[in-house]
Symmetry: C2
Subunit: 126 residues, 2 copies
Protein backbone atom coordinates (compact mmCIF):
# COMPACT_ATOMS: atom_id res chain seq x y z
CA UNK A 1 0.00 0.00 0.00
CA UNK A 2 1.33 3.40 -1.04
CA UNK A 3 1.32 6.33 1.35
CA UNK A 4 1.88 10.05 0.87
CA UNK A 5 3.26 12.12 3.76
CA UNK A 6 2.82 15.86 3.26
CA UNK A 7 5.56 17.59 5.29
CA UNK A 8 5.26 21.28 6.18
CA UNK A 9 7.52 23.42 8.35
CA UNK A 10 5.08 23.77 11.24
CA UNK A 11 4.05 27.05 12.85
CA UNK A 12 3.35 28.44 16.31
CA UNK A 13 0.05 29.56 14.78
CA UNK A 14 -2.41 26.69 15.12
CA UNK A 15 -4.42 27.76 12.09
CA UNK A 16 -1.38 27.44 9.78
CA UNK A 17 -0.87 23.85 10.87
CA UNK A 18 -4.57 23.11 10.46
CA UNK A 19 -4.37 24.38 6.87
CA UNK A 20 -1.77 21.70 6.15
CA UNK A 21 -3.92 18.98 7.73
CA UNK A 22 -6.93 20.17 5.68
CA UNK A 23 -4.76 20.11 2.53
CA UNK A 24 -3.78 16.50 3.31
CA UNK A 25 -7.47 15.65 3.77
CA UNK A 26 -8.27 17.19 0.38
CA UNK A 27 -5.40 15.22 -1.19
CA UNK A 28 -6.91 12.09 0.33
CA UNK A 29 -10.17 12.71 -1.48
CA UNK A 30 -8.41 13.40 -4.79
CA UNK A 31 -5.60 10.82 -4.76
CA UNK A 32 -7.20 7.80 -3.13
CA UNK A 33 -6.69 5.74 -6.30
CA UNK A 34 -2.94 6.42 -6.14
CA UNK A 35 -2.27 6.73 -2.40
CA UNK A 36 -4.29 4.58 -0.03
CA UNK A 37 -2.82 6.39 2.96
CA UNK A 38 -2.23 10.14 3.31
CA UNK A 39 -1.01 12.00 6.40
CA UNK A 40 0.43 15.41 7.23
CA UNK A 41 3.53 15.91 9.38
CA UNK A 42 5.72 18.81 10.47
CA UNK A 43 9.45 19.49 10.59
CA UNK A 44 9.05 21.32 13.90
CA UNK A 45 6.68 23.24 16.19
CA UNK A 46 3.67 20.97 15.66
CA UNK A 47 2.70 17.31 15.98
CA UNK A 48 3.04 14.88 14.38
CA UNK A 49 6.73 15.38 13.66
CA UNK A 50 8.13 13.60 10.58
CA UNK A 51 9.14 10.31 12.31
CA UNK A 52 5.68 10.14 13.90
CA UNK A 53 4.07 10.84 10.53
CA UNK A 54 6.08 7.97 9.00
CA UNK A 55 4.91 5.74 11.87
CA UNK A 56 1.27 6.73 11.21
CA UNK A 57 1.72 5.61 7.58
CA UNK A 58 3.40 2.35 8.63
CA UNK A 59 0.72 1.63 11.25
CA UNK A 60 -1.90 2.12 8.52
CA UNK A 61 -0.17 -0.59 6.48
CA UNK A 62 2.06 1.42 4.11
CA UNK A 63 4.66 -0.58 2.19
CA UNK A 64 6.01 2.45 0.34
CA UNK A 65 5.92 6.11 1.38
CA UNK A 66 6.43 9.29 -0.64
CA UNK A 67 7.45 12.25 1.52
CA UNK A 68 6.31 15.49 -0.12
CA UNK A 69 7.97 18.66 1.24
CA UNK A 70 5.44 21.51 1.33
CA UNK A 71 8.17 24.14 0.96
CA UNK A 72 8.75 26.83 -1.66
CA UNK A 73 12.51 27.32 -1.49
CA UNK A 74 15.41 24.92 -1.50
CA UNK A 75 16.62 26.11 1.91
CA UNK A 76 18.41 24.15 4.59
CA UNK A 77 15.16 22.48 5.66
CA UNK A 78 14.66 20.97 2.20
CA UNK A 79 18.32 20.27 1.41
CA UNK A 80 19.48 18.93 4.77
CA UNK A 81 16.93 18.67 7.56
CA UNK A 82 14.19 16.65 5.88
CA UNK A 83 16.57 14.20 4.08
CA UNK A 84 18.51 13.69 7.33
CA UNK A 85 15.37 12.93 9.32
CA UNK A 86 14.13 10.59 6.59
CA UNK A 87 17.48 8.76 6.48
CA UNK A 88 17.35 8.22 10.22
CA UNK A 89 13.72 7.13 10.12
CA UNK A 90 14.30 4.83 7.13
CA UNK A 91 16.69 2.79 9.25
CA UNK A 92 13.80 1.93 11.58
CA UNK A 93 11.74 0.44 8.73
CA UNK A 94 14.11 -1.55 6.51
CA UNK A 95 11.24 -3.28 4.66
CA UNK A 96 9.49 -0.06 3.67
CA UNK A 97 10.50 2.06 0.69
CA UNK A 98 10.62 5.73 1.69
CA UNK A 99 11.34 8.36 -0.97
CA UNK A 100 11.39 12.14 -0.84
CA UNK A 101 9.65 14.04 -3.66
CA UNK A 102 10.99 17.41 -4.89
CA UNK A 103 9.75 20.32 -2.73
CA UNK A 104 6.72 21.89 -4.35
CA UNK A 105 8.57 25.13 -5.20
CA UNK A 106 10.63 23.10 -7.67
CA UNK A 107 7.57 22.22 -9.75
CA UNK A 108 7.27 23.73 -13.23
CA UNK A 109 3.59 24.32 -12.34
CA UNK A 110 4.62 27.02 -9.85
CA UNK A 111 4.61 29.55 -12.68
CA UNK A 112 0.95 28.84 -13.53
CA UNK A 113 0.11 29.15 -9.85
CA UNK A 114 1.81 32.56 -9.60
CA UNK A 115 0.06 33.87 -12.69
CA UNK A 116 -3.33 32.59 -11.52
CA UNK A 117 -2.86 34.14 -8.07
CA UNK A 118 -1.83 37.50 -9.50
CA UNK A 119 -4.88 37.45 -11.79
CA UNK A 120 -7.19 36.64 -8.88
CA UNK A 121 -6.70 40.15 -7.56
CA UNK A 122 -7.16 41.69 -10.96
CA UNK A 123 -10.52 39.93 -11.18
CA UNK A 124 -11.46 41.00 -7.65
CA UNK A 125 -10.64 44.59 -8.47
CA UNK A 126 -12.90 44.70 -11.52
CA UNK B 1 1.66 50.66 -16.54
CA UNK B 2 0.95 47.61 -14.43
CA UNK B 3 3.59 46.10 -12.17
CA UNK B 4 3.80 42.81 -10.31
CA UNK B 5 5.86 42.63 -7.11
CA UNK B 6 6.62 39.07 -6.04
CA UNK B 7 7.16 39.13 -2.26
CA UNK B 8 8.94 36.25 -0.51
CA UNK B 9 9.94 35.91 3.13
CA UNK B 10 13.67 36.23 2.55
CA UNK B 11 16.32 33.84 3.82
CA UNK B 12 19.80 33.94 5.34
CA UNK B 13 20.65 31.52 2.54
CA UNK B 14 21.61 33.54 -0.53
CA UNK B 15 20.55 30.80 -2.94
CA UNK B 16 16.98 30.82 -1.61
CA UNK B 17 16.68 34.53 -2.32
CA UNK B 18 18.20 34.10 -5.77
CA UNK B 19 15.55 31.48 -6.56
CA UNK B 20 12.88 34.12 -5.95
CA UNK B 21 14.67 36.62 -8.20
CA UNK B 22 14.96 33.98 -10.92
CA UNK B 23 11.25 33.20 -10.53
CA UNK B 24 10.45 36.90 -10.99
CA UNK B 25 12.63 36.92 -14.12
CA UNK B 26 10.73 33.92 -15.50
CA UNK B 27 7.43 35.64 -14.72
CA UNK B 28 8.70 38.64 -16.66
CA UNK B 29 9.20 36.52 -19.76
CA UNK B 30 5.75 34.90 -19.42
CA UNK B 31 3.60 37.84 -18.28
CA UNK B 32 5.03 40.78 -20.19
CA UNK B 33 1.70 41.31 -21.97
CA UNK B 34 -0.04 41.73 -18.63
CA UNK B 35 2.65 43.25 -16.43
CA UNK B 36 5.13 45.63 -17.97
CA UNK B 37 7.17 45.72 -14.77
CA UNK B 38 8.03 42.79 -12.53
CA UNK B 39 10.28 42.82 -9.46
CA UNK B 40 11.00 40.60 -6.49
CA UNK B 41 11.13 41.85 -2.90
CA UNK B 42 11.50 40.36 0.57
CA UNK B 43 9.71 40.74 3.88
CA UNK B 44 13.01 40.50 5.74
CA UNK B 45 16.63 39.26 5.64
CA UNK B 46 17.30 40.24 2.03
CA UNK B 47 17.21 43.31 -0.20
CA UNK B 48 15.14 44.79 -1.66
CA UNK B 49 12.65 44.97 1.21
CA UNK B 50 9.00 45.52 0.28
CA UNK B 51 9.01 49.37 0.37
CA UNK B 52 12.14 49.36 -1.81
CA UNK B 53 10.50 46.88 -4.19
CA UNK B 54 7.49 49.18 -4.48
CA UNK B 55 9.87 52.08 -5.16
CA UNK B 56 11.57 50.05 -7.93
CA UNK B 57 8.17 49.55 -9.58
CA UNK B 58 7.27 53.24 -9.21
CA UNK B 59 10.66 54.33 -10.58
CA UNK B 60 10.04 52.09 -13.59
CA UNK B 61 6.80 53.97 -14.24
CA UNK B 62 4.19 51.75 -12.57
CA UNK B 63 0.74 53.29 -12.15
CA UNK B 64 -0.75 50.19 -10.54
CA UNK B 65 1.02 47.46 -8.58
CA UNK B 66 -0.09 43.94 -7.63
CA UNK B 67 1.81 42.58 -4.63
CA UNK B 68 1.90 38.77 -4.83
CA UNK B 69 2.87 37.03 -1.55
CA UNK B 70 5.02 33.98 -2.29
CA UNK B 71 3.86 32.23 0.88
CA UNK B 72 2.12 28.89 1.43
CA UNK B 73 0.31 29.47 4.73
CA UNK B 74 -1.89 32.26 5.99
CA UNK B 75 0.45 33.00 8.88
CA UNK B 76 1.12 36.32 10.58
CA UNK B 77 3.35 37.44 7.71
CA UNK B 78 0.50 37.11 5.20
CA UNK B 79 -2.32 38.26 7.49
CA UNK B 80 -0.63 41.19 9.23
CA UNK B 81 2.95 42.01 8.24
CA UNK B 82 2.62 42.34 4.46
CA UNK B 83 -0.72 44.24 4.55
CA UNK B 84 0.68 46.59 7.23
CA UNK B 85 3.81 47.33 5.22
CA UNK B 86 1.75 47.87 2.08
CA UNK B 87 -0.64 50.23 3.91
CA UNK B 88 2.30 52.30 5.15
CA UNK B 89 3.96 52.29 1.72
CA UNK B 90 0.68 53.11 -0.05
CA UNK B 91 0.56 56.41 1.85
CA UNK B 92 3.80 57.45 0.12
CA UNK B 93 2.30 56.98 -3.35
CA UNK B 94 -1.27 58.33 -3.24
CA UNK B 95 -1.58 58.32 -7.04
CA UNK B 96 -0.62 54.67 -7.46
CA UNK B 97 -3.04 51.81 -6.97
CA UNK B 98 -1.39 49.09 -4.87
CA UNK B 99 -3.28 45.83 -4.26
CA UNK B 100 -2.28 42.63 -2.52
CA UNK B 101 -3.11 39.33 -4.24
CA UNK B 102 -3.99 36.21 -2.23
CA UNK B 103 -0.90 34.31 -1.04
CA UNK B 104 -0.13 31.50 -3.47
CA UNK B 105 -1.01 28.79 -0.92
CA UNK B 106 -4.63 29.97 -1.18
CA UNK B 107 -4.80 29.08 -4.88
CA UNK B 108 -7.06 26.19 -5.90
CA UNK B 109 -4.18 25.15 -8.21
CA UNK B 110 -2.11 24.15 -5.19
CA UNK B 111 -3.74 20.72 -5.24
CA UNK B 112 -2.58 20.07 -8.84
CA UNK B 113 0.90 21.19 -7.84
CA UNK B 114 1.02 18.78 -4.89
CA UNK B 115 -0.19 15.86 -7.00
CA UNK B 116 2.30 16.65 -9.78
CA UNK B 117 5.20 16.93 -7.31
CA UNK B 118 4.29 13.64 -5.63
CA UNK B 119 4.12 11.97 -9.03
CA UNK B 120 7.52 13.35 -10.02
CA UNK B 121 9.14 11.03 -7.54
CA UNK B 122 7.06 8.10 -8.66
CA UNK B 123 8.33 8.70 -12.18
CA UNK B 124 11.91 9.02 -10.96
CA UNK B 125 11.64 5.76 -9.13
CA UNK B 126 10.44 3.82 -12.17
Amino acid sequence: MKALLLVAHGSRRKQSNEEVVILAEKLKSQCSAQYTIIHAAFLELSAPLIPDGIKLCVDDGATSIIVLPYFLNSGRHVIEDIPNIINETRALYPDIEINVAPHIGASPLIMDLLIASANTTVTNMA
